[in-house]
């Protein structure tokens, strides 16, 4: 019989082992992701259509409320509904993955109590559903942008994967922290929908960052919100240079998300082994 490696179980240490273990469990990551996706629309009549209906309805209501009623202006040369839909697309990706990551440990409590695997698998696999939804909303965006407004993405499109990746990193860096805290304090479950709701208005979704103006004294605080550059950047990739995008906000996002990521991983790793005692 072939002998596996020796595993040492003790109260601390084993950092290198942990990351190797994580790699060894990549198949589990894949299977859990698949589980979440296939369970997602079970026993619904409209199924995947929900991923289209929600952003579309939001876009229509936003356009009516902010453009027709409140007479907000978007960036020059860009149809207002398209600007809103672009914002919704990337924002929904962020908020979905963020919410799912934050709940990932609590939702999988039965696994936490009964089997061992690096717990990071759970927040990582929680991204899958959000990503599939994003692909659907994104197709909808392309369909409306090209099919209805005849608005083709330009060469900026090559930067799109970078912004998507950065959105993912940002949602993980905040979600991971909340996921670990959620195990101990279930208040997080209440807090998150609220954060997402507030975030929707704090971020440039129904309006453009250009309306605040770069010379405003609020601007430097405004761009500390890491979502600002992600939303602006996404629109810039899809809608061309007409869309407002300030590279400086991007640096701020990278710094904020980077710091948040380090703090979250350290915190998560520290709390990980005691999840089972609190769940």
């Amino acid at each position: 019989m072939q002998m596996g490696k020796t595993v040492i179980i003790k109260s601390d240490g084993g950092e290198k082992e942990y990351w190797m273990d994580l790699w060894r469990h990549r198949q589990l990551l894949w299977i859990l992701s698949k589980r979440d996706i296939s369970v997602r629309y079970k026993q619904t009549v409209l199924g995947v259509a929900w991923s289209v209906i929600r952003p579309l309805a939001t876009m229509i209501v936003m356009t009516f409320a902010f453009s027709v009623v409140a007479k907000l202006k978007g960036d020059v040369g860009i149809p207002y509904p398209l600007m809103v839909l672009g914002g919704i697309t990337i924002w929904t990706f962020f908020s979905n993955t963020f919410t799912q990551i934050s709940n990932s440990i609590v939702i999988n409590s039965n696994l936490v109590a009964k089997v061992y695997f690096p717990r990071l698998i759970m927040p990582l696999s929680a991204v899958s559903v959000g990503f599939v939804d994003f692909l659907i909303t994104f197709s909808l965006f392309l369909l409306i942008s090209i099919g209805y407004y005849n608005y083709w993405p330009g060469t900026n499109l090559v930067y799109l994967p970078f912004f998507i990746l950065l959105t993912f990193v940002t949602s993980l860096s905040f979600g991971l922290f909340f996921a670990a805290v959620n195990v101990r304090f279930r208040d997080i479950g209440q807090l998150i929908p609220f954060l997402v709701q507030v975030g929707f208005y704090a971020c440039p979704i129904a309006y453009s960052s250009s309306q605040l103006g770069m010379d405003s004294r609020w601007y430097q605080y405004y761009i500390m919100n890491p979502l600002v550059s992600l939303i602006d950047g996404f629109r810039w990739c899809m809608l061309g240079d007409n869309a407002f995008f300030d590279p400086q906000s991007l640096y701020s996002t990278i710094i904020v998300s980077g710091i948040a990521m380090c703090v979250s991983i350290v915190y998560f790793r520290k709390k990980e082994s005691s999840f089972v005692d609190h769940i």
Partner: protein, 419 residues
């Protein structure tokens, strides 16, 4: 060569008397912090709120390859905590364990099953959760389905499965794991007799293939049948270890000493009232040979002494025997008789080969004039009857409350001769 070496394992839990287990709220945490702040200012420590609980204390052992180790002990003795540490679900507070080889732990049947997914999808999901690779699951897929007997329902969501099917599928997947070390907790307690037989057979196969097994169960018959070595845990400590038969009988003799005898020497503190007071309650088993525990063969006597405090009274004693499920197995009463003030003794004999294995509770009633209950001592004596079989290769739970040996004959009446 040892595959598992545990050195001085201890595990501490902090019991918080103020807060119930599970997720708490920030408000609780915050108010607690505030309280602590003020306490500290007053120079008082909060001894009453938090308490250290050592689920395991200083446990060391070695397990060699191919050994089949059974872990026995009361509830709360630390067995499950030990398994959790070995399966890496929780970490020890101090000490360390070195494990060589691939471990699969089975602390529950069907861990991670998703009710909305079909049987087929759940086989892959559960397999992956238990640490199988996709190829391994594919290779044993047919065997799993066959073992569980769920061919027709493979594409039905498991939420529509009967609980029996659910358990069968869960066990079937686990049974086809091929780890070097298998850790199992109580999973045999589920499923019908037919399935228990199947799963015990499977576990024997696994053990005979030279793999190391660690098995926790309250089913001592199964432990004895499967394991060649046993650990006895009590209050977080590894009290004894060795040959299974020896350990099981040590364990059982400790169990039975706990509550078989109650004696009250001081009449004023004895249970009762102004008319009668109990003096002693005893269960006296007639142990078989060297054994110091009750099994299905053991006959026993229940004896009760009480003071009658009235000058004259027509009294009789009524005894109820309940199964731990609460059902009354029988009720017997003595003849009623007139007694004067003094000590009265009654004895009831319970024969061997009468009660099945299980836990039982006796309650006693002192009755006056055959109708008026003077005193009722509920749960007077609790005891366990262990299983005993010979000439049988089946180790599942023997059904029924009673286990009589009746004249039941079998013979061949008409042989067919082939020539």
């Amino acid at each position: 060569m040892p595959v598992i070496t545990a050195e001085n394992i201890s595990k501490k839990y902090v019991i918080d008397h103020k807060r119930s287990k599970g997720g708490s709220s920030v408000r609780d945490w915050f108010s607690e912090q505030m309280e602590n702040l003020f306490r500290r200012n007053n120079g008082q420590a909060d001894f009453n709120d938090k308490e250290d609980f050592w689920a395991l204390q200083d446990v060391s052992f070695e397990i060699k390859q191919g050994e089949r180790v059974g872990i026995v002990g009361h509830n709360g003795a630390g067995k499950s905590t030990m398994l959790k540490i070995l399966s890496r679900i929780t970490k020890p507070t101090t000490g360390k364990v070195a494990i060589r080889g691939r471990v699969a732990s089975l602390l529950e049947v069907g861990t991670g099953f998703h009710p909305e997914l079909t049987g087929r999808e759940n086989i892959y999901l559960n397999g992956a959760v238990l640490g199988m690779t996709r190829t391994e699951i594919k290779n044993s897929f047919d065997a799993i389905v066959d073992f569980a007997g769920v061919e027709r329902f493979l594409d039905t969501p498991v939420k529509r499965y009967s609980s029996g099917m659910y358990v069968r599928l869960g066990f079937a997947i686990a049974a086809h794991l091929e780890p070097e070390i298998l850790i199992i907790d109580e999973v045999l307690a589920v499923g019908d007799a037919e399935f228990q037989k199947k799963s015990l057979g499977k576990m024997r196969d696994v053990s005979e293939s030279g793999r190391t097994i660690i098995f926790v169960s309250h089913n001592l018959t199964a432990v004895q049948a499967l394991c060649n070595r046993a650990f006895y845990f009590e209050k977080g400590r590894l009290m004894d270890e060795g040959d299974t038969t020896h350990i099981v009988s040590t364990y059982l003799s400790r169990v039975s000493k706990t509550s078989l005898e109650h004696v009250w020497d001081d009449i004023s503190k004895a249970p009762g009232n102004e008319r009668v007071r109990l003096k002693s309650l005893r269960l006296l088993p007639d142990y078989i040979g060297e054994l110091r525990h009750i099994d299905v063969r053991t006959s026993m006597k229940v004896s009760c002494e009480f003071w009658n405090l009235e000058d004259t009274a027509v009294l009789n004693l009524s005894l109820h025997l309940y199964a731990y499920t609460g059902e009354c197995i029988f009720n017997v009463g003595t003849q009623a008789q007139e007694f004067s003030k003094g000590i009265i003794e009654a004895t009831c004999e319970i024969p061997g080969y009468f009660l099945n294995d299980g836990s039982y509770v006796i309650s006693l009633m002192i009755v006056k004039n055959t109708s008026e209950v003077v005193y009722n001592q509920e749960e007077a004596i609790a005891f366990d009857i262990q299983d005993y079989r010979e000439g049988v290769t089946w180790y599942g739970k023997w059904p029924g409350y009673i286990r009589p040996q009746l004249n039941f004959s079998i013979s061949q009446t008409e042989p067919v001769v082939n020539d």
